[in-house]
């Protein structure tokens, strides 16, 4: 079995790099992206097994990005991470507040992978 492929979409360079490192340390392969547009562009290349999506992206809201993908029939497992206190819109998603513990994040990702 190839290692699971996780896309990390986060505009803050330091957070993106660190989350990438964490996922790789747990044996995943990663793709680090700064915007929702980059994510959409990257889909043509390879579809990730799971997306770690920051709620607040410069070009759009993480939830909007997820919705946009669903509307186009691209159903991706999405783990949303957020630095905001208000997570009211996201009852149907896995939303993890920052700073996120590795056990929580990895468990959330693996949960999707196992299902997939």
């Amino acid at each position: 079995m190839t290692s699971p492929y996780v896309a990390i979409v986060e505009d803050d360079d330091s957070v993106r790099v660190a989350l990438g490192r964490l996922c790789r340390a747990y044996g995943m392969s990663t793709r680090e992206l700064a915007t929702a547009h980059e994510l959409v562009d990257s889909l043509a290349e390879r579809r990730p097994d799971c997306v770690v999506l920051d709620l607040q992206l410069p070009d759009c809201d993480g939830l909007d990005a997820d919705e946009w993908l669903r509307e186009r029939g691209i159903a991706l497992p999405v783990v949303i991470i957020t630095g905001r206190d208000d997570t009211k819109r996201s009852s149907e998603h896995v939303v993890l507040p920052k700073p996120v513990d590795d056990s929580t994040l990895i468990a959330a990702i693996r949960n999707f992978l196992d299902r997939g």
Partner: protein, 545 residues
């Protein structure tokens, strides 16, 4: 410095010794400063010393003060006066001074500072009224009433004693009490400039004093010249406060007494009795207005300073409120480095646990952790500097740094609302004289206002232009232009009024405080609508060079 009597036994004895010496000198001075063989002094300083001592000590110590001065009085008087007369004087003097001190304790809100009009008036009235009343009981007045004192009529003796005591209480007591309370600290605190001014005032006072009272009788031909005394006295009252004013008055009184006794000055042509009366009236008429003037100035200074303190508190309170508005954004700003630090640390730990760590990668991870930690510390330091309450500290300030700080504090908020910032902050713009925290507060408020005004602006058009430029040779101008709703038409200055707000939240103090800060910096803050959309706020501050 006069030590409080409660301090310790040695200093208490030392203090009483100083009192005894001062009182002795005062009695001898009073005795020596008489005209011909009059038994009534021109100014009975001893009572002024006694009253000052009573005002400087708690009531419980008054018996000591009275005992020491009584013994000293006997020692100073007995070579010349009969024992019964000295004892009589001791009794009546003690009665006058303790009654006056009690009256002042009751009506004048001690300690005596002469820093309020009320206290000056109460002090003047109490010392004169009581001096007049108790004069009726002095040996010379009682005996002249009984015909035992041939040189005076009853009324003249009473007037002379009353004025002699009254003038002493008015001129001498304040000087002793005020210096006694402050010690030499007012002198130690003098700035070189204040010292220069104080010196100039002393020179003026002495010059005028010697012109008026140190020259021959020709000065009496121009009585209007006596008015010359007022400019330097007013100068002292306005600039040096009650302490300086009362000291200046005593100095002038001393010079006038010295001159008149030496047959110089404007009163020389009069008979001895008229000379004495003229001197006393001269002292009394100049003292009260000068002391009142010093009190009025001091009252105004205190009102201004309490207003300033209040404004500082308000400025700080609004700063804290602004920080509160930003707290959500700041929490987010701290969560980013914390997230990176945690993920990095756990990645490194996992790499070590799985045995796949290599030293080079671990080093990079640790460097990143340190970097993120410093970033988080910077956020906290900036916030802390912004909200702490402290005295304003004026120094040359680079406005581009101020603007960058304000933008850093609002970065997350600007990102969240999707405001793109276009900042033109040339570093070679001259510095301005100011308080960096207050200036950050002004700029921050302008940025926040701009953000709020762009609430209805379509997201791609939310732009903020910040421009810093040298206005002309003397001023630096900071312009903050938004593309928001603009200022209310026809009432563009209304937004600077306290509690004026177009927002649903907020007190409406931001711009009012901003303008008051800029005005206190000697600058201007105003707003104008743009030709297209939005408004531009401009801050004009004087350049240091």
């Amino acid at each position: 410095m006069w030590p409080p009597l409660s301090q310790n036994r040695v200093s208490r004895i030392g203090w009483l010794a100083v009192l005894a010496l001062g009182y002795y000198v005062a009695v001898r001075l009073g005795l020596s400063f008489r005209f011909q063989n009059s038994i009534i002094g021109v100014v009975w300083i001893a009572n002024a010393v006694l009253l000052a001592a009573l005002l400087l000590t708690p009531v419980a110590r008054w018996p000591w003060v009275l005992a020491v001065t009584a013994v000293t009085h006997l020692a100073a008087m007995l070579p010349d006066a009969a024992l019964w007369r000295a004892l009589w004087q001791i009794g009546i003097n003690a009665a006058l001074t303790t009654t006056t001190a009690l009256a002042l304790r009751r009506f004048a809100d001690l300690p005596l500072t002469l820093a309020t009009r009320r206290q000056v008036l109460v002090y003047t009235v109490a010392s004169f009224a009581l001096a007049a009343v108790f004069a009726l009981g002095t040996p010379v007045v009682v005996r002249s009433a009984l015909g035992l004192e041939p040189s005076y009529t009853h009324a003249v003796a009473w007037l002379r004693v009353a004025l002699s005591n009254g003038a002493a209480l008015l001129l001498v007591t304040p000087v002793i009490v005020l210096w006694g309370q402050h010690g030499l600290t007012p002198l130690e605190r003098l700035t070189p400039r204040a010292m220069l001014e104080g010196g100039a005032i002393v020179v003026c006072l002495l010059t005028v004093g010697f012109v008026l009272f140190g020259t021959g009788s020709e000065i009496a031909r121009f009585p209007a010249l006596l008015m010359l005394i007022f400019p330097p006295l007013l100068w002292a009252a306005v600039r040096l406060g009650p302490l300086g004013a009362s000291t200046a008055l005593l100095g002038i009184a001393a010079v006038s007494a010295w001159g008149t006794a030496g047959q110089l000055g404007p009163f020389v042509a009069f008979s001895d009795a008229t000379k004495v009366l003229s001197l006393q009236l001269f002292w009394i008429t100049m003292s009260t207005p000068i002391l009142l003037m010093a009190a009025v100035i001091r009252e105004r200074e205190q009102a201004e300073s309490s207003l300033l303190t209040l404004r500082q508190h308000l400025t700080h309170a609004t700063r804290v409120a602004t920080a509160g508005e930003l707290s959500g954004a700041l929490a987010h700003e701290l969560r980013q480095p914390l997230t990176a630090i945690l993920a990095n640390a756990q990645a490194a730990r996992t790499l070590l646990d799985t045995g796949s760590a290599d030293a080079g990668e671990l080093r990079i991870i640790l460097d990143d952790i340190a970097l993120q930690d410093r970033y988080a510390a910077d956020v906290i330091t900036r916030l802390r500097a912004f909200v702490q309450e402290r005295e304003p500290h004026f120094e040359p300030i680079a406005l581009d740094v101020v603007v960058r700080d304000a933008l850093a504090l609002t970065k997350v908020l600007l990102d969240r609302i999707g405001v793109s910032v276009d900042a033109d902050l040339p570093p070679d713009v001259p510095r301005v004289w100011g308080d960096s925290v207050q200036l950050v507060q002004v700029v921050l408020n302008l940025i926040l206002n701009a953000c709020e005004s762009m609430y209805h602006t379509p997201a791609p058009e939310r732009r903020l232009r910040v421009e810093l430029a040298r206005n002309d040779t003397h001023f630096v101008e900071l312009a903050i232009a938004d593309r928001g709703d603009g200022l209310p038409l026809g009432a563009q200055d209304k937004v600077f009024e306290p509690f004026f707000t177009t927002k649903e939240t907020g007190l409406g103090l931001g711009l009012a405080i901003g303008r008051s800060i800029v005005t206190a910096h000697g600058g201007r803050l105003w707003g104008e609508n743009n030709e297209g959309r939005g408004a531009t706020f401009r801050v004009l501050l004087r350049a240091t060079a």
